[in-house]
Structures are given as structure tokens and as C-alpha cells.
């Protein structure tokens, strides 16, 4: 549905987006991750046709966004960053305006507005003016605007920003459910959201894609992925450390906790050993009393940090 090729945007000498390519099909939810100023919002603005790209091409549902913007825009629902809405309108007035401009009229328009109001829980503020709404409600109003015409493509810039935990949960559920039939791109700074909703995630840093994969694949980029943590007793911490660090598939072992009767050790895998480490550790600890043994999955926040701030993270590791 969405196909982006070699997208570049320069602001003066600055390359805010620097050669991004990806595509999103129907049924996919693509998460956009990246530090502040990475170029997430700028990419979204180009995909939705708000700003023209300096270079590269964007096609939405087969329509080129630069050559043929109207049919392309018709397919898109867009929630911009900061959720703008006309302050002098009521929530109802605003939603019917956006429905009307999307070409809905009469009964169809009423139904569309009611459906969006229901999905975003706006009944309570329906006749309140937008500039008196709380931040979360304004966000939901703008979100309602983006789904009012039941679009095939949804572009959401930080859709859960400013929402309370219940609403965050609702919006995530909604995105996941809509993602079954639509192509969705959404950006977020909340990494647990990636696990909760995305079928795929892209990490952008300084305008470039630095990682692209399912949340599972990204997690495996972590140094931690495949690390094994064991808590053993009936053996001294030093002896356990020595034996575990010497395993052929182990890079190093870290003593996490030492108690009177037990020791907790984390063994980091050598790159590329895959599942072998768990087996090696299990063999090595035979004869000791095992109180706990598990394999780490790798953590997204750690992957995120090591990819987007490689120098600092390496510094910490030393």
C-alpha cells in the first residue's frame, strides 16, 4: 500500500531525512522508532503529502504522492504530531467538517462521525469547544478525525502521546485491530508499544534507517539476546564464575548477585552461537543445585540505545 523509495528531505544544509526506503502492505503495522530529531515526523509529513520530498518517490495505493496527490491523500488518514484541531469548533463540528471534506454527506457523514466518536470515547465532550479540551481529549479528537473515513492507510505520529494508561491501552488495541485490514505506520517513543502492536519496526537515526525487522528480530540484535542467567547454590561464586566463563560459547560471565548460599551469574554469548549457550550452561551446571535458569530474549530499549548511541553504550560497557 505504501512504498517509499530513497526519500530525502533537506532543510538548508541539514539532511533531516537521508535516503529512506521501505514499504508497508495491508495487514501490517509498522512502528517508527528513533531519537528526537531523527526525522520520523518529517518522513511522515512527506508520506502524507504535507511537504514535498527533496528527492525520492512515495506511492500510496499505487498513486504517486507528488504527481497525483488527491487520490493518494484520499486513502490516508493522518494524525499529525501534537494533534492539531481547529480551536474555535466543537468536537462534533470539527469531526463533521473533516467528514465533509472527505466527501461524506448526509447520513453517511452522521454515521461516520458517530462511529469515530464511539471508537475514541468522545461522547462526553462532543459539544465542548476544542480549545477547552484537555490534552488527551484533544489528541483523541484528532485521532478520531484520522479514522473518520475508514481509510486504507493510517499514518499516526505518536498516537498515544498524552493519553492516560487506559486510553493508551485502548488506542493500542484499536491500532492492532485496524492493522489487520489496513496499512499503518505509527511513531512512538514507548518501546513496549512496539511489542504490543507492531508487526514490524524501523529504527531511524539522523535521517537513516539503522534497523528494520520484526520486534523479535530487533531484540536479537541485543548483546543480551541469548544470554543465560543462572542462580546456583552449593558451589562458591568464584568457582561458578570460573567454570561458566570458560565455556566455549560464552563471551564473558557477570556476577550479578552473591549471597551466603547462592550466586546469580549471567553468561553473555559469543556472537553467532545462537542457542548453543543455553545447552552449554545446562551441561556445565550439572551437579550444582539450580534454583533458576533462563535465557534472555534481549531488550528493545537496550537495542535502541546501542544502535542510536553506540559510543555512549560502549563507554558504559567498559
Amino acid at each position: 500500500m505504501i512504498k517509499v523509495q530513497n526519500l530525502v528531505k533537506t532543510f538548508g544544509p541539514k539532511r533531516a531525512v537521508d535516503g529512506i526506503s521501505f514499504s508497508v502492505e495491508r495487514g501490517e503495522v509498522l512502528g517508527f522508532l528513533g531519537p528526537n530529531g531523527a526525522g520520523k515526523s518529517t518522513s511522515m509529513r512527506m508520506i502524507t503529502g504535507f511537504i514535498p520530498p527533496t528527492e525520492g518517490s512515495i506511492s500510496v495505493g499505487g498513486f504517486d504522492m507528488v504527481e497525483n496527490p488527491i487520490p493518494a491523500k484520499r486513502l490516508i488518514g493522518y494524525l499529525p504530531e501534537n494533534a492539531p484541531a481547529y480551536p474555535d469548533m466543537t468536537v462534533y463540528g470539527f469531526l463533521s467538517f473533516t467528514a465533509e471534506i472527505r466527501g461524506l454527506a448526509g447520513d453517511a457523514r452522521k454515521r461516520a462521525v458517530n462511529r469515530a466518536v464511539e471508537m475514541c470515547f468522545l461522547e462526553a465532550v462532543l459539544h465542548q469547544s476544542v480549545d477547552t479540551l484537555s490534552k488527551g481529549y484533544r489528541h483523541r479528537t484528532c485521532f478520531a478525525q484520522s479514522i473518520i473515513h475508514d481509510p486504507d492507510v493510517l499514518i499516526l505520529d505518536e498516537p498515544t502521546d498524552g493519553l492516560d494508561p487506559n486510553q493508551k491501552h485502548e488506542v493500542r488495541t484499536l491500532i492492532r485491530k485496524m492493522g489487520e485490514k489496513k496499512a499503518i505506520i505509527f511513531s512512538t517513543h514507548i518501546l513496549e508499544e512496539v511489542d504490543a502492536v507492531c508487526s514490524r519496526a524501523i529504527i531511524i537515526d539522523r535521517g537513516r534507517i539503522v534497523a528494520n525487522g520484526t520486534p523479535q528480530q530487533l531484540r536479537q540484535k541485543s548483546d543480551w539476546a541469548g544470554a543465560v542467567t543462572v542462580r546456583v547454590s552449593g558451589v562458591s561464586a568464584a568457582e561458578a564464575m570460573q567454570k561458566l566463563a570458560a565455556l566455549p560459547s560464552a563471551k564473558r560471565a557477570v556476577l550479578l548477585k552473591e549471597e551466603a548460599t547462592s550466586a546469580t551469574v549471567r553468561i553473555m554469548p559469543k556472537p553467532g552461537v545462537n542457542g548453543a549457550l543455553t545447552q552449554n550452561v545446562a551441561d556445565a551446571v550439572r551437579g550444582w543445585r539450580i534454583e533458576e535458569l533462563h535465557t534472555e530474549e534481549g531488550r528493545l530499549d537496550e537495542v535502541f540505545r546501542s544502535i542510536t548511541m553506540p559510543d555512549t553504550v560502549k563507554g558504559e560497557a567498559k
Binding site: 533537506t10 503529502g49 504535507f50 488527491i70 491523500k73 499529525p80 484541531a85 481547529y86 474555535d88 469548533m89
Partner: protein, 246 residues
């Protein structure tokens, strides 16, 4: 066409949802009354015309029209709704024309509300209502020209005050180049080239508004006002495209 209507409708409702509309209308009515009766000497003239009413319009509009137009695009940029509007399936022209039309209709409403003055002259004497009607049309076209200029300056900046000041200055220039004291001065400075002065004066709204006030419907006057509007709205489009291109 439908999109223009939708946008114009929203914009017009927005005027009446804010105090701007009422303040502008009330001030406009008060000032026209004051100028017509106190300064214009409406009664002393003893003529059944509205000359003393229309003669002030270029000056009144100078401040009131930019006040109406200054928010058109600067507000849209400041609050970020421009991003919503321009990612809707509409062309930027539809948005520009729709918003312009809404404010122009709003000004028409303010102008129509001065009808009691028309009734008054008709009650007191027997004026040439054709001339009055022509003057109203001219006045509305004049307001539209100022408005298009305000529209353009409001696209330049997200600051409404700056937008207001620049459009007042531009509109003032359009008055000045045809204002008799200035044209006389120009005749003296450019004394060998009166044709140059004529050309300069041809860019003045005064020159073209005059005809309407006399009840002469000259297509050149009409074309002048329409081209000021088309040019300014076109420039608005260029400015908006420029912002988006970064």
C-alpha cells in the same frame, strides 16, 4: 467546488464563533456612521447621495480588512491545523479560495448591515439608486482587494500582528499612489513625464474606486480589482508552497 464550499462554510462559522466578527461589524458601523454624519457632513451637503459615506471606505478598510484577514493563514500555521488541511484530499487552491471567499462574504455582511443609511437617503430625497448600488459593488471589490493582500501577508508569518502591519502598509501604498496630494507631488517631481505619474496612479485603488462612486461601471476598474485579488491569492499559493518545501 464542494471542497471550496466546505472550507468557506467552516471559516465563516469560525468568524462568528469568535468575538472578531462582532467587534469588526460594530466598529465598522460606528465608524461609518461617525465619518458620514460628523466628518462627511451628510446633512449639510443637502444632496441625496451617499458620497460622504463611500468616500471614507478606502480609509476605514485600511484597518478593518487586515484585522479580518490577518488570521486566515497565520492562525492556521500557528495552531498546526494547516498540516491537517493540506493533507486532506483537496488542492491548496481550493483551501486558499475557500478561506478567502469566507472572509469576503463576511465583509459583504458587514457592508450590507449599513443599509439603514441607504434607506435614510431614500427617505430624505430621491437619490440615484443605481449609483448607490454601483458604489456598494465597488466598495465590496475594494474590500476584496485589501483582503486578498491581507491573505497574502498572513501566509507569510505565523504572527498575526506582523501580518496585520504589513498588510496595512501595502494597502496604504495602494491608496497613496493615487491620493491627490501624492499625485500632485509626483507631477512636480516627474514633471517631464506626466504619463509615468498616470501609470503609477493607475495602480491606486483610489483611481479605480472613484469610477464606482460616480456610478460609472468601467470594465477596467473591475479588471483592476479582480487582478489585485487574483495576483495576491496566487502569491499566497506560492508562499504556502514555499513554506512546505522548506
Amino acid at each position: 467546488m464542494n471542497n471550496i464550499k466546505t472550507i468557506a462554510k467552516r471559516e465563516l462559522l469560525a468568524y462568528f464563533a469568535s468575538p472578531v466578527a462582532y467587534v469588526v461589524i460594530v466598529i465598522f458601523l460606528l465608524l461609518t456612521g461617525f465619518f458620514t454624519f460628523m466628518l462627511g457632513g451628510f446633512f449639510e451637503r443637502g444632496e441625496a447621495t451617499l458620497t460622504s459615506f463611500f468616500i471614507w471606505h478606502p480609509w476605514l478598510y485600511l484597518f478593518l480588512v487586515p484585522a479580518v484577514g490577518m488570521r486566515l493563514w497565520s492562525e492556521e500555521r500557528r495552531s498546526g491545523t494547516m498540516e491537517l488541511l493540506l493533507t486532506m484530499p483537496i488542492t491548496p487552491w481550493q483551501a486558499i479560495v475557500g478561506k478567502f471567499l469566507a472572509s469576503w462574504i463576511f465583509l459583504a455582511i458587514a457592508l450590507i448591515l449599513t443599509f439603514p443609511i441607504g434607506l435614510t437617503v431614500n427617505y430624505l430625497g430621491s437619490p440615484d439608486n443605481g449609483v448607490i448600488f454601483g458604489s456598494y459593488v465597488g466598495s465590496w471589490l475594494l474590500a476584496g482587494s485589501y483582503l486578498a493582500i491581507s491573505c497574502m501577508t498572513s501566509a507569510m508569518t505565523r504572527n498575526q500582528v506582523i501580518s496585520f502591519i504589513i498588510s496595512v502598509v501595502l494597502c496604504f501604498l495602494l491608496i497613496l499612489v493615487g491620493f491627490p496630494p501624492v499625485t500632485n507631488f509626483l507631477y512636480q517631481v516627474l514633471n517631464f513625464k506626466p504619463w509615468l505619474v498616470e501609470i503609477i496612479a493607475a495602480f491606486s485603488v483610489m483611481t479605480h474606486f472613484d469610477g464606482f462612486q460616480k456610478g460609472i461601471l468601467d470594465s477596467r476598474d473591475l479588471i483592476f480589482f479582480l487582478s489585485v485579488m487574483v495576483f495576491s491569492l496566487f502569491t499566497t499559493g506560492v508562499i504556502i508552497r514555499g513554506h512546505r518545501a522548506g
